[in-house]
């Protein structure tokens, strides 16, 4: 007998983990769709599989959907006379964990968390999803009179290709996040409400915020920066350059502005110049705003001439909404706080 629903074969929870994680949860949507479709076929209950496609993304929906899903799972298992792999209380814990993870991702749309948190939550949710595979695999192995899609170890050619490609990608992402976290703790923190002076005593930076730290040269720049400072948010840093005697304030400011116009969406730049107090050294402050991948971005370039050489403190700050608002003004204050060391 041929069934209108073609079932997927049982799959390796480990490989499923890779798919859930490497697609940043997009695969989870399809997973729910296919699984509910199979539930519906087995139990003949009134379910709408395509609606389950959206469950992984909607926190509020999950409050109702996940208990329902476990009910359907139990109904299906009961119909196939399968013994659940774990007691009902674990279902509740699973659902609560998944909802918390979704809640975190929801909050993270507005408030920034360290990247390591993101990584942890993604691993956690992928693990949760692959745990469910332990309940689904027995169903698929037990169900009778259904047509299975013919696949090697349950995965299509495309999925195998993706798995092979995504493994190095996942490793790279994990390595980058972990190594960045490691680099960022390499060099000392910069005290808040202090004046940071470079070792050559050419320039200084007035640090107004906490959690700023000096990071290894090359963390953000191509290695030509004199100093790199990382802020409390993820994509928040200042780079200090000495552009030598061949540049002018005008040329540097124009170059930075054109760079912003090339790389940022909806760019708006302003430039203000004033004298460094008690001197005739002009300080130029370029401030550009825009968006990158939907997040607000603030790019600053504070330029000043020290002994005929043009020094620049380049600032970059991009974050989700509330984090951006939280740090924006202090970031601008720090950008203004770049000055020559010998000024009063």
């Amino acid at each position: 007998m041929s069934s209108p629903v073609r079932f997927r074969p049982a799959r390796s929870p480990l490989l499923e983990f890779i798919l859930h994680f490497s697609t940043l949860g997009i695969y989870s949507c399809f997973w729910f769709y296919y699984v509910v479709r199979e539930f519906k076929y087995i139990t003949q209950r009134s379910l709408t599989p395509f609606m389950w496609f959206f469950v992984p993304w909607f926190f509020l929906a999950q409050l109702l959907a996940l208990p329902t899903w476990f009910n359907e799972l139990q109904t299906t298992e009961k119909q196939l006379r399968l013994k659940p792999k774990w007691p009902s209380v674990v279902n509740v814990l699973w659902a609560a964990s998944f909802i918390c993870a979704t809640l975190f991702l929801l909050v993270a749309q507005y408030v920034e968390f360290p990247e390591i948190y993101w990584l942890s939550v993604l691993i956690f949710t992928a693990t949760l999803m692959s745990l469910l595979q332990l309940r689904i695999n027995p169903i698929r192995e037990t169900v009778q009179d259904v047509e299975f899609i013919s696949r090697y170890k349950g995965f299509s050619f495309f999925e195998w290709c993706y798995l092979f490609l995504s493994v190095p990608f996942i490793l790279f992402i994990v390595y980058t996040i972990l190594s960045t976290a490691s680099i960022l703790t390499d060099i000392e923190a910069v005290e808040a409400d202090s004046e940071y002076v470079d070792t050559e005593k050419a320039y200084k930076v007035a640090v107004s915020q906490t959690q700023w730290k000096r990071v290894k040269i090359g963390t953000y720049s191509d290695g030509t920066a004199l100093e790199e400072l990382k802020g409390p948010a993820n994509d928040m840093y200042f780079l200090i350059f000495n552009n030598g005697e061949n540049q002018t304030l005008n040329s540097m400011a124009q170059w930075r502005i054109s760079q912003v116009y090339d790389e940022v969406s909806n760019p708006q730049c302003t430039e203000q110049r004033e004298y460094v107090p008690s001197t005739l050294n002009v300080k130029a402050e370029v401030v550009c705003t825009g968006t990158v991948l939907g997040d607000s971005i603030l790019i600053t370039s504070t330029l000043l001439s020290i002994d005929g050489e043009i020094y620049e403190m380049y600032g970059n700050f991009s974050a989700v909404k509330y984090t951006f608002e939280q740090y924006k003004n202090e970031f601008l204050t720090m950008a203004k706080g770049f000055g020559a060391y010998d000024e009063n």
Binding site: A253, Q254, S258, T270, Q272
Partner: protein
Amino acid sequence: MMKTRLALLCLCLLIFVTKCWAASFVENRHDKQMMVELIGQKGELTSLDQNSLTKLFYHVDVAVLNKSVEVKTTIGWYYPNKEIVQDDGVESLSFNQHTDEIVITNAGVMSPKGEFSWLREGDVNVIDSDTINVFSESKNLIVSYPKLQAGSVSVIEYIRKTDLNKLEGTWSRIFYPQNLTDTLSFKLNVNWQAEKPLQYFNASPDVTCQESTRSLTCKGALIKALDSDDNFHYRDRLQNIVLTQATSWQQVKGIVLNGFNKARSENQGINEVMSELVNTDMGLAQKITAIHEFVARDVRYVSMSEAGHAITPHNVSTTLDRRFGDCKDKSALLLEMLENIGVEAYPVLIATQREMPEAVKVPSTGYFNHVVVCFDYQNTQHCIDATDAYTDWSVVSDWVQGKVSLALHNAPKPETLQKAKYRWKLNAKIDIQLLETGGQIEKQTVAFVGEYASAVRQQIAGATKKERREWLEEVYHDVVNEEATPTFQVNGLHTLPSDVVVESEVEYDPYFDPSEGIVLTEFSPWISSEIEQFEFENTTYSEVFDGFKIVSEMIIRFPDIWSAQSLPADLNLVTEYGSLTREAKRNGTNTIIVKTVAEMPARVISVQEAEQFNAILASFKNNSSVEYTANKVE
């Protein structure tokens, strides 16, 4: 321009007048012994500075008698080289043709070999003291020394006799022991009679004076030349000794004021003129404007300081009848007319070549050579120079601002006349329409305000159409662009209360590639050109900086194929000497408006401040350029 005006108007000299001068100026007695003795006292001439003129001796004997004053002066010069012979081989002796007689009693040249050449009648010539204006009453006796050669010494002894009965005021005289050359010996002997008491003031650190009964003896030796400079009034700085018969500034003021009162007492015809100029419908400011317009522009300036009118103006009725007069005459007329409309005005004497009242020590009219009329209007003092046909009464003529003045009102002593905070004010509106061809149409509206309007009027109000156009083109080429030649329209040249507004329009040939985005720099022409003019160049003396305020609004319009990308930097460059501020904003997608204000108020700049001041000017200039970019719309 200011110098021209100065030269034209300083002829209103308040000096003492007599009717004629002696027919012969030379009564040379060929006294070789006197010359040899004086020169011999100076020792070996070759030991003197061989690169500059040296005043060997400057001896003056003054005898103040009851009816006259006789001043015998003896001067010896050493000319070390040919260049100095060429440049300085003449003596200029100033005298007043109406009050003075001048006679050269012994003059000649001793060559390096000791041979003597005596001055003859034909070696002297009389010219007006100010050759630019032939109406001058002051004369100069020009003495050309004969057979002067490198290593020569010239000696001149002359007597100038002033008839006190012909003076309108008291006698006074300023002697300068110091010169622009070194002076080896200075002597001043003064004797006076009891009934003519004399005051003196010695402002010469290198000269010591000793007073005894009715006599004064001053001596100085090795008086160094005054350090010269780029911009200074040497009369403020030269060491001097003043002799005067005036007893107080009050007396000086009284003498001059009496002259004005006398002139104003004869004022027939004033009511008829006033009825033509003003009416009851006019406000006070309008009335003042009408009166000023009449006195400054309908009564022309002619130097009229003949006998009896050195410090006393001609009668108001005479000036009205003639429709000409000098500064005193026009001021008296202005005073009378202002009083007629209820404005309480008063004359103020001006020393146009002095800016330091502290250097005007003793009461004397001799310091002053000009007069203006001042009054209070709406709690602000206004001063009108009636000889200035180009400046509105609401601003003080630029050439008298900050000069030493003596108000014939309630000022106890000389002070400086008020200065504007910004003497040079200009508003420029520059509208640039960039073209798809890569060129641009530029329209400028430049408004010269106040004193600046006056200066422009002075230049072109009386010029022919061709001369005016040439002047405007020259200014445009100097300030804006050497290549382009716009069309011009000038407004406000002949109405004093207005700004002088110059409108120009020109289309520039393509100069950028229209197929690319635009990266352009405009250099804020009016701001940078004005700033350039104010560099402080003095190395010895402080200088009064006039102050400027330039407002430039630049509107840059792009054609629809471009949209503005980056704007010029906003500026907030503030210093203790002034500021350069700018605000740039968008007006729609393809128009940028850039407003820049450069302002530096008037102040005294010392030599120590020069480097800082010039650095600020340079910084303002460097930062005045306007850079912007635009992208082609895809």
